[in-house]
Subunit: 365 residues, 2 copies
């Protein structure tokens, strides 16, 4: 016997499948070293000031966190010249996305996004039980804004754009974004997922969505990528205060936790750490591009902290990923992201990229 009453859209959901743990990779393949390049984490670690700030909350850890993340939201607001009422902090930017799906949908609404983008959004929509419409990426693995605009209907409630896109690293320009927004009716909320903003902000013509302040756009950023705090689960959203106010009503009162709020605040202030992180990735990308060019491999130029290699087919991509894993290089094969021919490589430390090249030479002959 079991509790039988489960809505169909929940029954149909696939459980999250984690890859091998590092320990499992070590146990099975016994590599000398692991290059963990599968999850777009910051291989430099994080700001020491963030850890210090988290630890400073330990003396009061028996108390509930500040329910409105006042200090953190005030700092974010100051950075962007907005009010704290325009900011919400959540359990990662995915946590804020989850709030959006719980706040703005009726059962008959629909969500619209690309067929090759962040899985987390798809899962949230599917678990909310509303219809998810996916539009193919362009041949260059970019968001097809024209096709997305064409796909908007009366039922569309939310459009999700990741800029730069995950896992492809592509971005759309100011001009493309501005044109797209002229096509979006007022009843549609646009989620601009800028999880990789810190890496992309200096790309030519990159549209920082915060410069527009449109009433039906929410900008999401995270501490899990550039700031290196993935383990603490903090992200934030910025939008019109009425929109944020509604999300705040749905948010669990005590998210994020106290050490997480404190770590994020300190990380924001450590501008030197984030600059060094971005520089490391820029250098690493140039090195990887040069290497892959020399080897005649296909890949997509990236505005984020990862680069997607493109193989002829799913089998080749899977084989490459497996063989690299045997040599301690953990990469992300992308069938679940809708790109079975793609393999995503996080840009890591110099020694990570050296290990990647060493393993590549053995795997691809």
């Amino acid at each position: 016997m079991k509790f039988a009453v489960v809505p169909e859209h929940i029954r149909d959901l696939q459980p999250y499948k984690a890859g091998k743990t590092l320990q499992e990779v070590l146990d099975v393949y016994k590599p000398e070293r692991i290059a963990k390049l599968a999850s777009n984490e910051n291989r430099m670690g994080c700001s020491p000031a963030a850890l210090k700030a988290a630890q400073d909350t330990f003396g009061q850890i028996m108390n509930y966190p500040d329910p409105s993340s006042r200090a953190l939201r005030a700092e974010i607001a100051k950075m962007h010249g907005i009010k704290p009422e325009n900011v919400i902090a959540g359990n990662g930017s995915e946590g804020v996305m989850s709030l959006i799906t719980r706040t703005f949908f009726k059962d008959t609404d629909q969500a619209l996004t690309a067929a090759g983008t962040f899985i987390g959004f798809w899962v949230l929509i599917n678990s909310r039980g509303v219809k998810l419409v996916k539009v193919p990426l362009t041949q260059n693995y970019a968001f097809d804004l024209q096709a997305l605009a064409d796909a908007i209907t009366e039922e569309t409630r939310v459009v999700y754009l990741a800029n730069p896109n995950n896992p492809t690293g592509t971005y759309f320009t100011k001009q493309e974004f501005e044109w797209f927004m002229t096509q979006v009716p007022e009843h549609v909320l646009v989620i601009m997922d800028e999880a990789y903003y810190e890496y992309a902000k200096d790309e030519p013509n990159y549209p920082d969505s915060m410069r527009y302040r449109m009433d039906n756009v929410i900008t999401l950023r995270t501490f899990s990528k550039g700031y290196g705090l993935a383990g603490f689960r903090v992200g934030y959203g910025m939008a019109h205060e009425d929109l944020i106010g509604n999300l705040m009503k749905v948010k669990l009162p005590f998210e994020p936790g106290s050490p997480s709020q404190a770590a994020a605040l300190a990380a924001l202030r450590d501008t030197e750490f984030i600059e060094r992180s971005v520089e490391l990735v820029l250098r690493g990308k140039e090195r990887l591009y040069a290497f892959l060019d020399k080897k005649g491999m296909n890949y997509v130029k990236s505005a984020s902290n990862s680069v997607m290699m493109v193989f002829d087919n799913e089998n080749d991509a899977a084989h490459f990923t497996d063989k690299m894993l045997e040599r301690g290089v953990v990469l992300r094969h992308l069938p679940a992201f809708g790109i079975p021919e793609g393999v995503r490589i996080t840009i890591g430390l110099e020694e990570d990229m050296t290990q990647f090249e060493w393993a590549f030479e053995q795997v691809v002959k």
Copy 2:
């Protein structure tokens, strides 16, 4: 202008209202000391081993947490003689409750609970947009299981029971629970919120819902109360593996965070700390009962770590709470919990209770 498309049930939600911060209390009333007795936190703090374990995760904080909290769930399972597949960890037990509301409801379903219980559940149901049916407490401020059983209909999907109840501290017995479950049809999921389990487990005839293993019951426990880890946001649910499996599909992959998982695991193993915490509360309750008896005050005997005083009316309760606050004693007046004549006092350290008595002598003449 603003984003106008907000469902009515979201518009109608009240934002979470935090009380004064401790800093605000200090600034306004300048008490010599604060007795923070408003949130049922553990005034003893937490296990040092928990903090050590949290800190040990800092070296890997740039990495995402274990998405399935393997180590923590295995330990919880071992404690209860169940499988890890019967356990889910979330952002506090409220986080697991939120998952339940996102997993098992259709729009036409209803939830059923008491009119004087944990606000968090009401907010979750209201934000999910399904109908919430509330049954008055008994005259003794206990769950009225007979009335709840009578109120179950075909539309009822979830019944929420807190045992002991928050904020009243009352509990229902094994016999009452067993009878109630005979009245619950299979299509109804019973949430047994046992956030105060550690304090209640030795009360006469207290029903530990884990001893029953019913397929339509989920038992919730938390690290925020007895374990003193409210700032870390960890709670867990235990149920049939099919039920847990569906919750796991809806859970954000990376909750709880890494330091939170580690702290909770270490806290579970520090049995000495939790025993001391429970003893402190037992002694503190006896002392408070004796004091209130001597003063001829009305209160409700409690199986949790707080005691509810009962005043003649809302005004008296509010006045008492305000006057105590001016003397640094922070209590919770309970209109939002549906009990406007009630004031909840967390059992604190001996010095907290001494300060309570000192302030009481000044306030009630």
